[in-house]
């Protein structure tokens, strides 16, 4: 474990200007609670949670207010207060459509926090119980995908990767978390490793995150169970598949999961949240978030309650500058533009980025593709972005599928380097949705065909049975009358027998 880790290169990638200083100049600040918290019921991959509180009810910090349905995560109140409504509210989603949210009026005097019991003796606790705790705490992947964490802990794992390679420009929440809470990341990593039975743990941090590296090494001084590895700073190194490639040299198969290689990857923020849930009994109710960009007066990294309005966060960072032009949730490469700042902070939001007009190039005219191949050179998933673009334009989805659009991680590099300013990622996002809808339609139509055939077969069978019954009745009637002349007793017996048989088949029909 003490031998230096051998590193590999992943295909494509690019060095981008980092802009990380803005949000790392000062230590992180605790964001004051806003007067009102808005908690979307769907902040994770999977189904929306089901509310467990009613308007008018008092809640306290840490109380569960919505429970997971199917694949999903519980939701907890980040602060004491009163539920004022469960209603549709704008959420940070590309559609701009509102979604159901629990709205809480914050009142710190409403009651003491109700945390889960702390489990300081976790090394003696069954992995299943620790996994249940992670589920109870409503923890989701904090790196951006918001996949319910407990759902990733079901398969045996050899290598656990703690992902601190925060490669996207501007975002600095993981860096600040590592600088300030490296021991929590360490403990969370050990707990996760115990749950999945991982024999090796690697904490990967980009080599330019000096403060984070120093803090991590200090927290792990003398320990040999977690290897701190400085990985080269190349975007998108923090992508799960790219990082696994760098650390192991192995490639996650197309359509497969890292678990197929015996590898599990968790964001360092997720690990810290796991440590909080187990060691302090604290559900996931707050997170580190960078409020940064050239469009805010005083960029800062905050520890903010989930559900805090974005406008409140921006106000904590000194508010907008006059030349602020666009609000983005996430980073400049993979983030999504927000139409309004009246949306809440969600579990998956690592950064609130305010860009100025000078940094945008969306309005540059789109020119035809000149087949320069730059996009192919930078693509970290080894796709052919230009071919995908052509086939999407032509609506040829069979070709799009053959070119493995599903493997696109939407890192944005192809569009970034495109000299013709083609919004390639927009095409891929559209194409992925269309592929999903097509697959769903195909599945439904296959099901309908099967059910239609089954119904036809059933109707034919019922007709045949009815005809057979009728024929049997007709056949038995003359036999009874014919026997009448010879032997009246036998004839009466036959009649009774026929009647009984008829009643029995009718009963069977009725049942």
């Amino acid at each position: 474990m003490n031998a230096p880790q051998r590193l590999f290169a992943f295909p494509g990638g690019l060095r981008l200007p980092e802009h990380k200083d803005a949000a790392t100049r000062a230590p992180s600040r605790a964001c004051p609670l806003p007067p009102r918290l808005v908690l979307p019921l769907s902040q994770h991959a999977g189904q929306a949670a089901r509310p467990e509180v009613a308007p008018g009810e008092r809640v306290v910090r840490g109380q569960r207010i919505a429970r997971a349905e199917g694949l999903g995560a519980h939701l907890h109140a980040p602060a004491a207060g009163v539920v004022v409504a469960i209603e549709d509210h704008p959420v940070p989603h590309a559609s701009g459509l509102p979604a159901p949210c629990i709205v809480i009026d914050v009142d710190p005097a409403a009651g003491e926090a109700a945390l889960l019991p702390a489990l300081p003796d976790w090394p003696a606790i069954e992995p299943a119980a620790l996994r249940a705790r992670i589920e109870d705490a409503g923890i989701v992947g904090l790196g951006g995908a918001a996949f319910p964490t407990a759902g990733k802990l079901g398969r045996p794992i050899d290598l656990l990767v703690l992902n601190g390679a925060e490669c996207e420009p501007w975002i600095a929440c993981d860096e600040m978390l590592l600088r300030e809470r490296a021991p929590a990341v360490r403990d969370g990593g050990r707990i996760l490793a115990r749950i999945v039975g991982a024999s090796r743990i690697v904490l990967a941090i980009e080599d330019r995150m000096h403060g984070a590296l120093a803090a991590a090494r200090e927290a792990l001084a003398g320990a040999d169970d977690i290897a701190v590895v400085a990985v080269p700073t190349i975007y998108p190194e923090g992508g799960e598949r790219q990082l696994i490639r760098v650390l192991t040299g192995a490639e996650v198969p197309s359509g497969g999961l890292p678990a197929d290689l015996g590898v599990l990857c968790h964001n360092v923020g997720t690990a810290a949240a796991v440590a909080d849930a187990v060691l302090r009994g604290l559900p996931l109710v707050e997170r580190y978030v960078s409020v940064t960009g050239a469009g805010v007066a005083d960029p800062v990294t905050l520890r903010a309650a989930i559900g805090t309005p974005i406008e409140w966060l921006v106000a904590q960072a000194g508010g907008y500058r006059a030349d602020a032009e666009r609000l983005v949730m996430g980073g400049p490469m993979m983030g999504r533009a927000l139409p309004t700042d009246a949306v809440p902070l969600v579990k998956a939001a690592n950064c609130v980025l305010v860009l100025t007009a000078a940094e945008l190039r969306d309005d540059a005219p789109e020119l035809p593709c000149i087949r320069c191949g730059e996009c192919v050179r930078v693509c970290p998933a080894r796709l052919l972005p230009q071919q995908l673009h052509w086939h999407l334009r032509a609506g040829d989805f069979d070709e799009v599928e053959a070119h493995a659009l599903r493997d696109c991680i939407e890192c944005g590099l192809c569009a970034h380097v495109c000299p013709s300013h083609i919004p390639l990622v927009e095409w891929y996002r559209w194409g992925k949705t269309e592929l999903r809808v097509r697959a769903e339609d195909r599945r439904r139509s296959d099901l309908a065909r099967e059910r239609f055939e089954a119904r036809k077969a059933r109707l034919e069978r019922e007709d045949a049975e009815r005809a057979a019954r009728l024929a049997a009745r007709r056949a038995s009637a003359p036999a009874a009358t014919a026997g009448d002349a010879d032997d009246p007793v036998a004839a009466a017996l036959a009649r009774a027998e026929a009647k009984k048989r008829g009643a029995a088949t009718e009963d069977a029909d009725g049942a």
């Binding site: 300013h421 927009e426 809808v437 065909r449 059910r451 239609f452 055939e453």
Partner: protein, 189 residues
Amino acid sequence: MATAVWVLGLLGVALGALLGWVAVRFRRAGAPLADAIDKVLPQTQCGQCGFPGCRPYAEAIARGDADINQCPPGGEAGIRALAELLGREPKPLSADHGVEKPKVLAVIDEAECIGCTKCIQACPVDAIVGAPKRMHTVLDAECTGCELCIAPCPVDCITMVPARAGLAGWRPSRPLPRLTALVDAARLP
């Protein structure tokens, strides 16, 4: 000259006989063309094409008894797929058979339902559950949105709702090309 005619003529007859024998010897069971057409059809089983289900319509197209533009649920995309499969020119959807609409699902107002089972008998894919004088309900995952249950309902308690509504059903739109006068717009798709 005469030899050439004889040779080519005999060759033609021999090869023709061979082809005829192959056609009989290696005939495939079933109706592969109808199967291929059935695969393209949306399986709504609505009967708007004039045939009692998608399979009968596919067989009619294969026989040449029906045109390819009689399926409103399949819409323009469905007609294009059929045209490509059959090597024909696409044509607009026949107005006699209906208009293309967004996908819908049937929903029974369970408070109004009297339990007459008429809709259960009408459903072509058995997507309605219920029993006589008991409330009926539609299985969302199985409903094809054919609307065949609407007419038989004596209390009009069945409505059609959009199948992909709200945030879960939202889809990003196709990107619009941002063009300027620099570019010859007519030459771009």
